[in-house]
């Protein structure tokens, strides 16, 4: 048993940060919270995370996608989970239909907000296994 795995949690909504931190911390993960994707990336440079959970629509519309792309380009093996309250925006339906859609989003999983705690934990465990 080494150090607990590190998860970066990125969301501009404080409530979601706290909720998901609670869920993940209760399962024994180390969790770092960021309300800004830029700061999350800087932190990741200092200590690469084992997994990233990010909101999709953080202020700037595509910031979740941008973050996922950045993470995958620097740490291709780090899983990314995208979460959003707006599955469709401006006529575009973001919810992925299959693994190809997920790959196009640079994501390994996609959830509609709010994510049930057990679902999130199950997915995180699965991706980190």
């Amino acid at each position: 048993m080494g150090k607990p795995k590190l998860i970066l949690l990125v969301d501009d909504d404080r409530d979601f940060l706290e909720q998901n931190r609670g869920v993940l911390a209760a399962s024994g993960y180390r969790v770092s919270c960021f309300s800004n994707p830029q700061e999350a990336l800087q932190a990741a440079e200092r200590e690469p995370p084992d997994l990233v959970v990010s909101d999709l629509m953080m202020k700037a519309l595509d910031s979740g996608f941008t973050l996922a792309r950045e993470v995958k380009s620097r740490w291709p093996r780090v899983p990314v989970i995208l979460v959003t309250a707006a599955a469709s925006q401006r006529g575009f339906d973001f919810s992925p239909r299959g693994s190809e859609d997920l790959a196009a989003m640079n994501a390994d999983a996609f959830f509609d907000k709010p994510v049930a705690p057990d679902q999130l934990i199950a997915k995180v465990r699965d991706l980190l296994a």
């Binding site: 409530d15 979601f16 209760a26 629509m57 309250a85 925006q89 401006r90 705690p117």
Partner: protein
């Protein structure tokens, strides 16, 4: 057919002739006037006020000859048909007489039948002439009407805001109004082949209608031309009982409608996001409690419920805002007015926003000049909505660490609440549309600020319902100051 008796003027210096004529003609139902020479004839004509159908006139008479009288009478009334009765029935006089407009002549002596026949023929001829003239006049006036109608239609087609193209079956563009030329940026001289039209999409649409076989065809399509969007309607021109004679294309500018459509759909997704986010957050907290993650710690559970409640309240405000704007738009919003201490209410609104300001390390100050207790006859909730919106906006559009100041003043007529920030400010173009529904200024900063684009429109409408006014001063980077003035009661 004609009730009026036909009137005949008989002028002859031979009494026997003129009395004889009168007798013969009167029996036939003509109304006869007689005169003994040219001069008397002219006087009789004038005395009767004209209206004679036939002038039966001798040529050689004292004082005024028959030809002279004919000339005078014809000048006064071209419809009078002159018939010459003369003893000097030579070719020369007859020719001279007809040159002067005589219809025919009767050589003396003549029988009653000869006279009646000449009169009858003359009257028929006269009737034909009059009818022909009437027809001619009618036709001319109709032609004039048609010409006027055509130029009217041309003017209408020229001035109509829609672009119009008319294409014949040979695929020649035979009519193009100035707006069509502008829309298609086309300068070719009409007529020109459809093939030479610059826009392929329009060309295809027209060809499709022209080539379609049988029955009237209408095609409608949205076409983008030079940054504008047009609804192009092409319909076949079918004249009753004839083959299709071409097509007409109408270009209607729907750019504004399209923009509105986009704004509305953006608004709907914005609202969906704004509604779903707090709902999801509240649901998330409740999920946590249910999943046992709170470890049944009453303090922790209370905190989580408190947090959900906060989000639910925000949601309720949003829904209220939406309902209010709809009610105002449909005229179903009524104010419940009572004297309200405007300054106190503004302070209350500022207090309610203090947490939000602190979150962004924005200093929020409240100041009041003399007599802050000035009252306005107002709906308390509406006023609170106005102030909260303005203060909330100021916080939203001011970067972290900035300043927002709420100031109340009173000039005896109006109580003024101003909200001043040192935030991002706005471009003059954005300032103009600021109070439009769903309008949101678009720049890098506002892209990061959530909002429905309803707040300021609500502020303006509510203020105006209170006989007040909203003003704004702002420039990019120099902050904004919104002021609401309400009449003091």
């Amino acid at each position: 057919m004609n009730e009026e008796p036909v009137r005949i003027l008989v002028v002859d210096d031979e009494k026997g002739v003129r009395e004889g004529c009168r007798k013969i003609l009167s029996v036939e139902g003509y109304q006869v006037t007689i005169a003994e020479d040219g001069q008397a004839g002219w006087e009789a004509f004038q005395a009767a006020g004209g209206g004679f159908a036939v002038l039966l006139v001798d040529l050689m008479m004292p004082r005024m000859t028959g030809l002279e009288l004919m000339k005078l009478v014809r000048e006064a009334d071209t419809d009078v048909l002159p018939i010459i009765i003369t003893a000097h029935a030579t070719i020369d006089t007859a020719v001279e007489g007809t040159k002067q407009g005589a219809y025919s002549y009767i050589p003396k002596p003549f029988t009653p039948d000869e006279l009646l026949l000449a009169i009858k023929n003359g009257l028929e001829r006269r009737a034909l002439t009059i009818e022909a003239r009437r027809l001619r006049e009618e036709r001319e006036s109709r032609l004039l009407e048609v010409a006027a109608e055509r130029s009217k239609s041309n003017t209408i087609i020229k001035c109509i805001t829609d672009g119009i193209l008319v294409i014949n079956t040979e695929k020649l563009i035979v009519l193009r109004n100035p707006n069509a030329a502008r829309i298609l940026s086309d300068t070719q001289q009409v007529p020109f082949p459809l093939e030479a039209l610059s826009c392929a999409e329009v060309k295809g649409l027209i060809a499709e209608v022209l080539d379609g076989d049988g029955g009237p065809t209408i095609l409608s399509r949205e076409v983008s031309l030079a940054q504008a969007t047009y609804m192009v309607n092409v319909s076949r021109v079918v004249e009753p009982g004839a083959e299709a004679s071409g097509a007409v294309a109408v270009f209607r500018d729907i750019t504004v409608l399209k923009k509105l459509e986009t704004a509305k759909s953006m608004f709907v997704s914005m609202v969906a996001h704004e509604v779903k986010n707090p709902l999801a957050a509240a649901e998330g907290w409740l999920n946590l409690i249910l999943s046992g993650l709170s470890k049944q710690d009453p303090q922790e559970e209370k905190r989580m419920i408190g947090r959900s409640l906060l989000r639910i309240r925000t949601l309720r405000t949003l829904v209220t805002e939406l309902l209010n704007i709809t009610a105002i738009q449909t005229g179903n919003f009524t104010l419940r007015r009572s004297p309200v201490e405007v300054g106190r209410l503004a302070a209350e609104a500022a207090e309610a926003c203090r947490d939000k300001a602190q979150e962004k390390s924005i200093s929020l100050s409240f100041t009041a000049a003399a007599s802050p207790e000035a009252r306005a006859l107002a709906d308390r909730d509406a006023l609170l909505m106005i102030f909260s919106n303005l203060i909330d906006n100021a916080i939203k559009y001011t970067p972290d660490g900035g300043h927002v100041g709420v100031h109340v003043s009173n000039d005896g007529m109006y109580v003024k609440v101003s909200v001043k920030d040192d935030g991002i400010g706005m471009e003059p173009a954005d300032r103009e549309r600021l109070f439009d529904e769903f309008f949101r200024a678009k720049n890098d900063y506002t892209a990061n600020v959530p909002g429905t684009g309803l707040g300021l429109s609500l502020v303006k409408r509510l203020t105006e319902m209170h006989q007040g006014r909203v003003s704004v001063e702002s420039s990019p980077g120099a902050g904004s100051e919104f002021a609401v003035q309400l009449p003091v009661c």
